[in-house]
């Protein structure tokens, strides 16, 4: 080759490379002249007709149409459209472009056009029109990640997901986490993590030791990055605090202690069930470490559980059911127990308690009530309604209900609404409000009945929800093969700062004993 030709080749090479890059860029496909399918493309997950937060992670999806090339075109009113072309059906949307598009169009429409190239060229499927809400969702959700648990809990972790991306962090793993001295916590069960006012500086955790462990069940209280173990049992015996709620002031905790028993069905769809043989509510004064109760929330003739405070701190809501008299055959009557939603007034300044009043009677609703949660503005109270008992995740009948507290003139007369727009024929349960009250994230087994996934739903100003959508994952096929379940999600505004070593250290430490209670002594369960 002559020198001149070599020069020409070297000169053309960059141009050819640039042309190749230009040709391969997303959106370079010639989509004009494509045929219309006159229907929407089948995708997994289903992200059609939804309202999304402007700060949510990309809605990566798999196109369930046959073809050899796939294109997703995302367009809004402002900004250039985003086009993703893929040789396989899994569409991964570039995070930066997605963010730019959503941020420029908060409150606007997001149009999703799917094109599939087959033997006869490109086919365009009907445009999917979604809406980008103006309100953001809290950036993090903390949840338990575990296999469907029957009796053993040897594989369980507490995780934090950044909703704005796909970043997931293991906060605590009951197999892998070690204390600073390298000791394992021996497969303890960790659950019921609770945060104060959507922050993470103060959080709670309940843990039960693994079988054969010398540890005691206890509450782990985290403050300013330091964890301590609190023994909430009566005289070192019985169950520890399970479901816990922070008073908005951060100075008082209401908790339930439950004597739960697991039973198994020999026939039917759901194999598992849980019976609360006995339960009471107790209180923990955070500053003094005192554990005590008041008679109104620990009645011997009632089962009391699932405490939650109103955002103004003036009411403690909880679920209550009559205790069954026949203790010997209690387990056989598992489906006879139904919980009411009740509340009791509380004057934090004087430390005075009012009388318990029924807000929604189970008999009136025809359902047992569990997991009440009030929106941060105090207007809506959302709860689970199911056929019996207090364990909605094992009951396909569990649905989400909502009560507009601003319309409740007379407690007991309140008429909650079943949220048919977000419920499914399978268990819909544990829900968490965003700090602005416009989003609810809940767990649902709607896909198959066994594995719970997290769904996000937008609340319109009028009190109706938009169609929920599943928490997006980087790999759109992730849920189709994931054999783990998502449990107890909690939305938080900031990342959790306490380390797993610190949590393990607290779990391994000796529990601080509670000082003598000034009020009602903490009594053994009935």
């Amino acid at each position: 080759m002559s020198r001149g030709k070599r020069t020409l080749v070297w000169a053309l090479l960059p141009a050819a490379a640039a042309a190749a890059i230009w040709g391969l860029r997303p959106g370079a496909e010639s989509l004009s002249g494509c045929t219309e399918a006159h229907r929407q493309a089948a995708t997994y997950p289903d992200y059609s007709g939804i309202v999304i937060p402007p700060n949510v992670a990309p809605l990566n999806l798999k196109v369930r149409e046959s073809g050899r090339k796939f294109c997703l075109r995302l367009a809004c009113q402002a900004g250039p459209p985003v086009e993703v072309v893929s040789a396989n059906a899994n569409i991964a949307i570039p995070l930066a472009q997605w963010r730019r598009l959503l941020q420029a169009n908060a409150g606007g429409e997001l149009r999703m056009d799917i094109y599939v190239e087959g033997e006869g060229g490109w086919t365009h499927f009907d445009t999917v029109r979604n809406r980008i809400a103006a309100e953001e969702i809290d950036p993090y959700v903390v949840y338990r990640y575990l296999p469907p648990v029957y009796d053993k809990w040897g594989q369980m972790s507490l995780r934090q997901r950044d909703l704005r991306s796909f970043e997931e962090r293991v906060l605590f793993d009951n197999q892998r986490s070690r204390d600073p001295e390298g000791r394992s916590i021996g497969g303890a069960c960790i659950n019921c993590h609770t945060f104060l006012n959507h922050g993470t500086d103060r959080m709670l955790l309940h843990f039960r030791p693994g079988s054969g462990s010398s540890q005691i069940p206890a509450m782990i209280l985290v403050r300013h990055g330091r964890a301590e173990k609190v023994d909430t049992r009566v005289a070192g015996k019985g169950p520890a605090a399970a479901y816990i709620a922070w008073h908005p002031s951060g100075k008082l905790l209401a908790f339930s202690r439950n004597s739960l028993a697991q039973i198994f069905h020999t026939a039917g769809v759901e194999v598992r069930d849980v019976v609360d043989r006995d339960s009471d509510l107790g209180l923990y004064a955070v500053d003094t470490g005192q554990v005590y109760t008041v008679p109104e929330i620990s009645r011997p003739d009632r089962l009391e559980t699932f405490p939650t405070w109103s955002p103004d701190g003036r009411y403690l809501y909880f679920c209550s059911a009559p205790a069954l008299a026949d203790k010997r055959n209690l387990l056989l009557q598992y489906d006879k127990i139904q919980y009411d939603l009740v509340r009791i007034a509380y004057d934090a300044a004087a430390g005075r308690w009012g009388q318990v009043e029924t807000v929604v009677a189970a008999a009136r609703l025809g359902k047992s009530i569990s997991l009440p949660q009030i929106s941060p503005d105090g207007r809506f109270l959302m709860f689970c309604g199911h056929d019996y008992g207090s364990f909605p995740i094992f009951q396909p009948s569990s649905d989400l209900y909502m009560l507009d507290l601003s319309l409740v003139a007379t407690p007991g007369e309140a008429a909650p609404r079943r949220l048919d727009e977000i419920n499914s024929p399978r268990s819909d349960s544990y829900h968490t409000w965003s700090s602005n009250g416009r989003w609810v994230l809940f767990s649902s087994k709607r896909e198959d009945g066994l594995f719970a996934r997290l769904y996000i739903a937008h609340l319109e100003a009028g009190g109706r929800f938009d169609k929920p959508f599943v928490l997006p994952q980087r790999d759109p096929e992730f849920y189709s093969r994931c054999l783990m379940t998502y449990n107890r999600p909690e939305l938080v505004a900031e990342p959790v700062t306490v380390s797993d070593a610190e949590l393990a250290r607290a779990i391994d430490s000796a529990a601080g004993s509670a000082p003598a209670a000034p009020g009602e002594p903490w009594q053994p369960l009935k």
Binding site: P148, K152, R176, I263, T266, A267, R272, G449, L450, S480
Partner: protein
């Protein structure tokens, strides 16, 4: 450095590796390793991430991939032999690098120790990979130590390699650190850096995960011998070679000229010197094979049972010792007999004692949990299968065997959404992908699986009546009331042959003749090859006949049960047996007299009780 070996060494290698291949293929059988260790390897995104999170994870990941070959006897043998060859080769390079000359036959010792470890079947430690990495780093370090004069650089290289070894293969530090430290110690004038490295290596070993410390203090002596043997071999070998090299350096002088050619006597001695160590190696291999025979037989039984190769199960059971017939192995043998339609005819050819079914309780032993999940599914206790399967998932984590069972459970229950999840997960598992994809395609074609005979059979057997406090698991019987359990299944589906035969079998073993008589009328609903004679007419399994003949003989009344047929031959054999019993002066004499013709009969078992009468 010239590390070319003479042709004799190549012959040695060829012989050694050929022997290795044959030994692994025929003797050890890699399929049993695969079965016992169940190396799980998924191709799904995120699977690798799990392994990158802990020290030693990359080696575990690689081992899981390599060990997929063990699913096949031939490929497994080749892959294992290749690992032995690599270890032998690297060992030779290592010592050659240290000593400057080849050390004959020494290279085979670690490979042989590794073969002993492979013989253990259950040990999932990626020993060969860790050893290879440790040796490779040690060789690299030895070479660096000769080229670099800067102590700081050497120490930094040591630290970096130590960390790399620890992260990549965990226990690789056991092979790398002492060798590297000794190389540094051997360097003069100062020994301090070398001693510091040695202390660092020991400290790291002490601070390493418990599993690392456990290598040397395991409860299984056979394992400890392998680990200490490997550690001692390299540590002592390095010390000896370095010590020898130092001595040679001090007494350096002209090497004596090698006389040419050596006399015949010398050649004979050299031949013996080669043959004796090889024979020694062969002896160790044979001893190791012998010591692990018990594990091998049990593994073979479980392997064939999991593959539902029922004749092979029976064949493997013949190699078991009497003491090996525990509740699980007994059940496996009886299950094989049931599946081969021979339970009612041949069960007393095998040791029987106690219940025919393993205890239905949550255990921490994975094979037990897998087996009882499978048992519940076969019987039609599908919700129980789901429950025990769920517990097994926690125990076995990503074990595809339990995923398969759970997929089947959910297919039978009609929960195809859940079944699809399990099948999709399995479609990413190397060993199960083909099966899972085929099952998924079947589900696409026939969503309700109406054409699947096995699913239909199990749906017929599936318990429909809910019982939240299972009567078979009362406080007094935590492991379950098996009799009630089987009767429940027969009430659900009177044609449930498994429930019927295991029920009668349990009564037979318990020598509870009234219970046999009470349950026998259910035989009219039971069908299958065991109930059809060669002439095409209905027949009754031999042991059932024998029990009912004994009942008829003791009451003096004919037995008239629909579907039951006691053949005249059975009555005649009973008469002969009775005559032997009557005529023998002692129980021992009677036993001896009846042994050859009756030891596989129910008559014999009934009189002499549980025992191994093979």
């Amino acid at each position: 450095m010239d590390i070319r070996r003479p042709s004799a060494a190549i012959v040695h290698d060829a012989v050694f590796l050929a022997a290795c291949l044959a030994y692994v293929w025929v003797g050890i059988d890699p399929r049993l390793i695969y079965h016992c260790q169940r190396p799980i390897f998924y191709t799904s995104p995120g699977f690798l991430d799990e392994f990158l999170r802990y020290p030693g994870g990359p080696a575990d990941y690689l081992y899981a991939l390599v060990a997929q070959a063990y699913a096949f006897a031939g490929w497994g043998a080749i892959v294992l032999t290749a690992q032995m060859a690599a270890v032998a080769a690297l060992t030779e390079v290592y010592f050659t690098t240290l000593a400057g000359r080849a050390l004959p036959l020494v290279r085979y010792v670690p490979a042989l120790l590794l073969l002993s470890e492979v013989n253990l079947y259950y040990d999932r430690t990626p020993m060969a990979l860790a050893l290879l990495l440790g040796l490779a780093l040690a060789i690299l370090f030895v070479r660096l130590s000769r080229q670099w004069s800067d102590w700081a650089a050497l120490l930094a290289a040591f630290a970096a390699m130590l960390l790399a070894a620890y992260y990549l293969a965990g226990m690789a530090i056991v092979f790398f650190a002492p060798a590297a430290a000794m190389v540094l110690i051997a360097r003069r004038p100062t020994r301090l850096p070398g001693i510091a490295c040695l202390l660092l290596a020991v400290a790291l070993l002490a601070a390493a995960p418990a599993s690392a410390r456990g290598w040397f203090t395991d409860a299984d002596l056979r394992r400890v011998v392998v680990w200490w043997g490997l550690y001692g071999f390299y540590a002592l070998g390095t010390a000896m070679v370095l010590g020898g090299a130092a001595g040679t350096a001090r007494n350096r002088g002209p090497r004596p000229a090698i006389a040419s050619p050596r006399p015949r006597k010398w050649r004979l001695a050299a031949g013996l010197a080669t043959a004796l160590p090889l024979l020694g190696l062969g002896f160790v291999a044979a001893l190791s094979y012998h010591l692990n025979g018990h594990d091998r037989n049990l593994a073979a039984l479980d392997y064939h049972c999991s593959r539902e190769d029922w004749p092979a199960v029976i064949d493997a059971s013949r190699r078991l010792e009497s003491g090996d017939f525990n509740s699980l192995t007994r059940y496996q043998v009886n299950l094989a007999l049931y599946e081969m339609n021979r339970l009612g005819d041949d069960m007393f050819r095998f040791p029987q004692a106690g219940s025919l079914l393993p205890e239905l309780r949550t255990d921490r032993v994975l094979p037990h949990m897998l087996r009882i999940t499978d048992l519940c599914l076969r019987l039609g206790r599908v919700d129980d299968a789901e429950r025990f399967g769920g517990e097994t998932m926690v125990l076995g984590k990503y074990d595809p065997r339990i995923y398969r069972l759970m997929a089947e459970v959910n297919l039978v229950k009609g929960q195809t959404g859940v079944a699809r999840k399990f099948l999709t997960a399995l479609s990413y598992e190397v060993g199960s992908a083909a099966w899972a994809r085929q099952r998924l395609r079947g589900l696409d074609r026939d969503p309700q699986l109406n054409g699947d005979a096995n699913v239909q059979l199990l749906r017929r057997r599936m318990l429909r009546t809910d019982d939240v406090l299972p009567v078979w698991q009362r406080a007094g019987k935590p492991a379950g009331d098996m009799e009630r359990l089987l009767l429940d299944q027969l009430d659900q589906d009177p044609s449930n042959r498994m429930a019927f035969e295991f029920l009668i079998g349990s009564y037979l073993v318990a020598r509870d003749v009234p219970a046999i008589v009470a349950a026998m009328p259910r035989i009219k609903d039971i069908s299958g090859p065991a109930y059809i004679g060669p002439d095409g007419r209905r027949r009754t399994p031999r042991h059932f006949q024998e029990a009912m003949a004994m009942y008829a003989g003791s009451t003096g009344q004919p037995v008239n049960i629909e579907g039951l047929d006691i053949q005249p031959e059975t009555m005649a054999r009973m008469a002969v047996f009775k005559r032997i019993m009557d005529q023998s002066p002692t129980r021992e004499a009677a036993r001896e007299a009846a042994w050859s013709n009756f030891r596989d009969s129910y008559f014999f078992y009934f009189v002499f009780g549980p025992g191994d009468y093979r």
